[in-house]
Each structure stands twice: as C-alpha cells, then as structure tokens.
Amino acid sequence: MNATLKLLASAPWSAKFGLVVIFGYAFIAIFAPVLTPYGETEIVGAEFELWGEEFILGTDSLGRDMLTRLIYGARNTIGIAFLTTGLAFLLGSVTGFLAAAISGWVDQLLSRIVDVLMAIPALIFGLLVLTIVGTSIVNMVLVIAVLESTRVFRLARAVAMGVVVMDYVEAARLRGEGLWWIMSREVLPNALPPLVAEFGLRFCFVFLFISALSFLGLGIQPPTADWGSMVRDNATLMTFGDITPLVPAAAIALLTVAVNFVVDWFLHKASGLKE
C-alpha cells in the first residue's frame, strides 16, 4: 500500500491529472442516481431550454435534463467501453499467446484471419455487421470486441514471441508443463506491461468507436443516455450558437486525454523496468 502511494507521489503532474479525472469519471458513473436531480429518461421540461437555475445545462430535444443525461451517459458509455475493451483483450491476448506458444499452423491460421479482419476499415465493417445482425448493446459489444481484438492479437503475439524464446520458458517446457501453465505463469507476467499500456490506448479507441456508432445511430439505442448520441440529437443547437452539444463531446475528449496521460506514464515506467 505504501509502495503504491510512493509510486503515485513520484508520478508527473500529467499522470496525476489523468488519474484524478479518471477517478472523477468513475465516481460519477457509480453514483449517477444520487448525483442527478432527475431520472435518466424523464421528460422534465420544454424542448431545448436554455442553461439556468432549474436545468443547469438546459434540456435536450425531448425536454430531458442535459446534466442528468450527461451523468447517466458516463455510466453507460464508459461501462460499455470498459466491458468491450476487456473482452477484446481477453480474446486478443489469449489467441496471441497461443499463436506464439504453439506457432506452426495455429499461428498461421490465426494470423491470416486477423490479417483479413484488419484489411477492412473497422468502422465500415462494424456498420455492415451491425446492420446485418441488428443493433443491440450485446451485438455491438461483441462486434467491437472482435474487431479491436485483432490489434491486441498483433501486440500480444509480438511480445509473447520475445518471451517464449527465453530459456526459462524452455526450462518449463522441458519440465513437462502444459500449455496453459506456460501461457499464464511464464509468458503473461512478462508480457503484461506493454499489454496494460495498450489497454489504456485501446480503451480510448473503443470509446470513440462506440461514440461514433451511436452518433450514426447504430450504437447505444435511445432512450438510454449516451454521449455520442447526445451530440447527434442536439447537434442542431450548434447552428443557434448554443454550445450545449459540445459538452458531451468535451466529456469524451477529456477522458481520452486523461487516459492517455496515465498510459504515457505507465509506458515510461514499464520501459524503465526493462533496463
């Protein structure tokens, strides 16, 4: 515990700022029902009311409180992005480690599948598949997770390739250890730092991906609050010089920047460990 505190104290200001923002977002997401003055989908006033006493950030196109939806949006968007990234990492690193540890035809097969998936632009591919299988949160999470896992696979495979040639892995093989033990005990701990750093970056991309899909109408479906669709639904306000639609956009931007600050710091630490 003390070591963790010391580590945090030694972090540069950018990483500290990033951590504060991330914890702030997490706090808001978890305590959303307590923090909000109204219900998530409750219509509380007229359409497009201005910022004021009653509605701090005004109301949206249906007369729902913007601030309330912004806070619930944190919960939905971040929660789903987190779940999706986690799934992408599980899939990507397990297959990546398998490809590196077994090599031969398994590696060939997995790598070629990934090549094919990566050859098609992710957003277009995502739109296509979602149009076919239908839009639901489960479908969206699965589709994005598979698409993003290709990048994770590439990284996990490359890192694991460097680890499996080490003598300690050879020693484990000669001991007669099974594939699972080698992957989880010998390869994973040594491949973890670059993977954790990649997790932060991937999280941002997934987040933007979801927001983009929502903006296009194929992501998180109404009436669930979500930042991407909030930007789209209220985009018309921009033409009247009202900056309200920029608030959810700014929330996305801020989180992305904060995560990247922390990731940069972690990458720096991780590369220092290797010396």
Partner: protein, 554 residues
C-alpha cells in the same frame, strides 16, 4: 624504463573520480584512481565486471559514456588536461593521437562501408594523409597484422571477414594515424580460444613495432600476462595492486590478486569409468539437422553414473545442438538416445514426466534462465510441487533445504525476485531448480562462461560438491579448457558436428593428439608471461615439420 622522468610520461591520471547514474541518482563508481603510462609502455587493467576498468579506459581519452560523468581529478595527456578540455580540442586528439579498440569489432564497424574506406577515414579527416597514401599504409598494416590477402581484404565489407580478422582489422584502423596511445577494451573476449592466439600475437607485434603505448583492458589475467609490461588490478573502482607483470605474477601482495592468480588451480580428482557397467546415458550415432542444414554427423557419447563428461569445441561445433538432441528439443534425424538402457522418445513432448525429471538442464545465461517475475520460492518450488507433489509446509521446507544446499541463506533469499540477485547467485538458483527435480543427470551448457572468474570457480566447486553428495552425472558443455581441467572425468572434443577425439581427462591433456585437439589445448592462455612466445616458437617448429596448427578461419 626504471628511471621515471617526467618527459617519459605520456599519460598521467591523478585522483580520477567518475560517477554513474543508477536509478535516479548519481553514484561514484571510480574512487580516485591514479595512473601513469610511459611512452611505448603497455599497461594492463584487470578486474571483474563492475571494477570500473572500461570506464577508466575511456576516461583516459577524456571520454565518459552516457550515464557516466567525470567528477574529479586530472587526466594529463602529453601535458594537456583532458578532464577540463573542450570537446573540440579532444576531437583533434581522438583518432589521431589516441584511439580505441572495442570488445565487439562486429558492432564497432559500420556494416555499410568497405574496410579500407573505414581505415582511411581518420587519417584523411585529420588531414594527416591523403587517401592513396593511407591505403598503401593500410596494406602494410594488414600484412603486419597477418591478415590473409592484405591487398584485397580492404575491399571487403565487415560481414565478409571472420571475427578474429575483423578484430585485427580494427586494430589496424586504430593504428591508421600512428597514435601515441591505443586503448584495447577486451579485444579478444568474444573470440574463440583458438582465434584469440592469432589476434594476441598480432596486436603485440604491431604495438611493439610502432612503439605505441597501450592500455589493455581484460578480465583474464593470463591474457594480460602475455601483453602488458605493467599490471593494475582494480576492484569496485579502487586500485588493489600495481606492479611490473613478472614481479606481480611471481609475488602478488594482496589477497584479491592471489585469488585471481589461483583461479585456474581448482582440480577435481579424475574417476575412471567403471568397467562393464551400463552407461546412464548413451547417445548412439546421432545425426540432427536444423531444417536442411545438417549439424551433427553420427555423434556417440556415453555418460556413466557419478561421472562428468566435458564436451568441448569452439562455437559452431555442434556441442549445444547435442544437448538439444539429448533433451529432445531438437529430435534426432537418426540414431538413438537411451537412458539406463531404455530408448527415449526423440521428442521431449513424448517423454514421460519421470523421464523428463531425471535429466535436468542448467543454462549459460542465468539472466534469461530465470523468470524475472517470479520469486525464488516459486522458481525452486515449482519443480518440487510438479514432480514430487509436495505442498504447503513440506514444500516450503524442501525449498529451504535446497537453498541451504546451494549455500544461500533461505531466510534472505526465499522471497526475492531473481532480478535482485547477482550473476553467480542466479546461477546457484538455476542449480537449485535443477536439483529440485531430484535428477540423476544434469546437462550444464556453458554454465560458467557468463560469470567472472572467481565466481565461476565457486560454481564449479559447488557442482563438484553436489556431485559427490548426491551422486549426480554431469554433461558439461564448454569452450573453456580450464573448466574442463577443473571438473571433467572424461573429455569429448567436437569439431564441425563430429566427435574428433574422446578419452579420459589425463589422456586428453597428454599429447600427441588429433591436430584440432592439440590446437585447442595449446591455445588456452597460461599465467606464464613467456607462454605466448614459447607457444608461437613451438608452433613454428611444428610447421617446419609439416604440421600446421592454426585456427580454421585464419
């Protein structure tokens, strides 16, 4: 050179202090070293890793590598203080009056340029010579350094010549401006012992012929004995002892120097193979290949119970491949490996847990042989749990017992990460991991070559003790004949994937032999300062009789 007049002094270092960056803070790594070098003198700097010898060598040029800084003292080169000199002033000296020969010539040459162009660069750049003259001088130097085809070799690229030739080309390059001082930083450490001889002889001859002063840095006292007029022994950034080569070798004052001198004296008593007993491991007429490239051609080796078989040969001779075949990592193309009379499946995946358990391996690089993310408890505990099924208190006790066996205090080490240990301690942990499986045979692949000499000797003694206590058999792969002399009962000499000779240790160290065995055996440097002269004279004599002992790539 007995009178020390100031005119004779080429380099004078006083109170040299150097700091190195460790973690986030500067720490002093050289603590006020004095050094004098007379014109034309060869000074040997010797010490184990971390002694600061390379750092001092570079400081003699007024240079501190990245992460190091010179914080005190003066470095007077021909009257000029290099510690205080500006970079532009030093650049005039570097290459023309002081030059440097690095350990790895392969990494120090630019692979994109021909040797001759890299040779002429310094003299032309410093305006000392034009290209044509410099090329003519290059050919002369190449001849002097006994490079084959001195007229044509300059046209080759670095990858087109062998390691030993490249090291000599690098020496030639260092001499291209006829400098006053050359710093040799372990120039032969990366070479095979048979190639080392030629390089040592060539360097010594050239330095003598031009009257160049030199600082010769190495960890091998036997090598420095051949090269230097005077020796400085360093340890942890301090001077331990300094003296004329012959008097120091004859009568070392400090305990540390005495230990260094005694390092090759450890010898275990040889035990003859029991007659009529089935060998523990029998490698019978094995051939193996990497893809389509054949590496082993019909190799047969027997290892008996409680015996140590040393497999020697230079790099590329197939000795490590033999270990891979025995362990099943590289399945043999033909032939068989049998253990206790029972033929083992060629691939390790088909071998039973018990077959795997009986044969353990210790690696050359303890750094890569231990998982840096695991604690000692898990590294040693895993084979115990895996093979013997112990757990909980019993497992813990066994791990502690194994740590005591390899002479590490269990309470201090059991919870450490392997990255918190020194090289020698790591190698001990590797030994403990092998012992944890309770094997009968341990394959040791160059286990001491990455370690400092004194540490290496401790490891050899430990292995010998363990053999006596636990009735182990060893297969000892090595290129170092001092190791063979120390621990082997039987010796197998390999050359280009074949066994050229084998026999008991006593037999093998008594001539006459196969040409290659003789070459290998006679090439191991000895502490005697006359050893190189005598050896070269002996070889010249043999050559007259039509028997040429020379490294294959010469």
């Amino acid at each position: 050179m007995s009178e020390q007049s100031d005119q004779d002094i080429l380099l004078r270092i006083r109170g040299l202090r150097i700091e190195g960056m460790s973690g986030d803070s500067w720490q002093e790594i050289v603590h006020g070293v004095d050094l004098d070098l007379r014109k034309g003198e060869v000074l040997g700097l010797i010490g184990e890793s971390g002694a600061g010898k390379s750092t001092i060598g570079l400081a003699a040029m007024g240079y501190a590598r990245d992460g190091c800084r010179i914080t005190g003292g003066e470095i007077l080169f021909d009257g000029m203080d290099l510690a205080a000199a500006k970079d532009s002033e030093k650049r005039h000296l570097w290459g023309s009056r002081i030059s440097y020969v690095a350990q790895s010539a392969a990494a120090a040459f630019n692979p994109a340029h021909r040797l001759i162009d890299q040779f002429t660069e310094a003299p032309v750049q410093h305006g000392l010579s034009d290209k044509a003259t410099s090329e003519a001088e290059a050919r002369e130097l190449f001849t002097r350094l006994q490079l084959p085809d001195p007229d044509g070799i300059g046209q080759r690229y670095p990858h087109q010549v062998s390691g030993g030739q490249l090291q000599r080309a690098m020496t030639a390059m260092a001499m291209s401006c006829k400098p006053d001082l050359i710093i040799f930083d372990e120039p032969t450490t990366a070479l095979d012992v048979t190639t080392q001889i030629e390089v040592l002889a060539a360097i010594r001859d050239a330095v003598e012929a031009f009257g160049t002063a030199a600082i010769y840095i190495t960890h091998d006292l036997a090598v420095v004995a051949q090269m230097a007029d005077r020796i400085m022994v360093l340890r942890h950034g301090n001077l331990v002892e300094e003296g004329e080569t012959r008097s120091m070798l004859a009568d070392p004052k400090e305990t540390y120097t005495q230990n260094l001198l005694a390092v090759r004296s450890f010898k275990s008593a040889e035990m003859a193979n029991p007659v009529g007993e089935e060998p523990l491991l029998r490698v019978d007429n094995v051939t193996a290949a990497y893809g389509k490239i054949p590496v082993l051609h019909g190799v047969s080796v027997d290892i008996h119970k409680k015996r140590t078989v040393a497999v020697v040969g230079e790099s590329g001779s197939g000795k490590s491949t033999l270990a891979r075949v025995i362990t099943g990592l590289l399945p043999a193309a033909s032939g068989a490996v049998s253990y206790n009379g029972e033929i083992l499946p060629p691939n390790y995946r088909q071998r039973s847990k018990d077959q795997l358990r009986r044969m353990q391996m210790i690696y050359q690089m303890p750094d890569t042989a231990l998982n840096p993310r695991q604690r000692i408890r898990d590294i040693i505990g895993r084979p115990v749990a895996f093979y013997l099924g112990l757990s909980g208190k019993q497992l813990e006790d066994r791990v502690r017992e194994l740590l005591s066996l390899i002479e590490l205090e269990p309470d201090d080490y059991i919870d450490r990460l392997s990255t918190e240990l020194s090289g020698g301690q790591k190698q001990r942990i590797c030994i403990a991991r092998a012992l944890a499986a309770e094997p009968q045979l341990i394959i040791c692949d160059e286990v001491t070559s990455a370690l400092d000499q004194l540490v290496a000797e401790e490891i050899l003694k430990l292995l010998q003790r363990l053999q006596d206590e636990l009735d182990l058999s060893y297969m000892f792969i090595t290129h170092d004949l001092a190791t063979v002399r120390a621990i082997a009962d039987e010796v197998v000499v390999m050359l280009q994937g074949e066994v050229v000779e084998h026999g008991s240790k006593t037999e093998m160290f008594k001539p006459p032999h196969h040409d290659y065995t003789d070459l290998l055996l006679s090439s191991v440097p000895e502490m005697d300062p006359d050893w190189l002269d005598n050896l070269l004279a002996e070889r010249a004599e043999l050559a007259k009789q039509g028997r040429v002992l020379k490294a294959a790539d010469h």
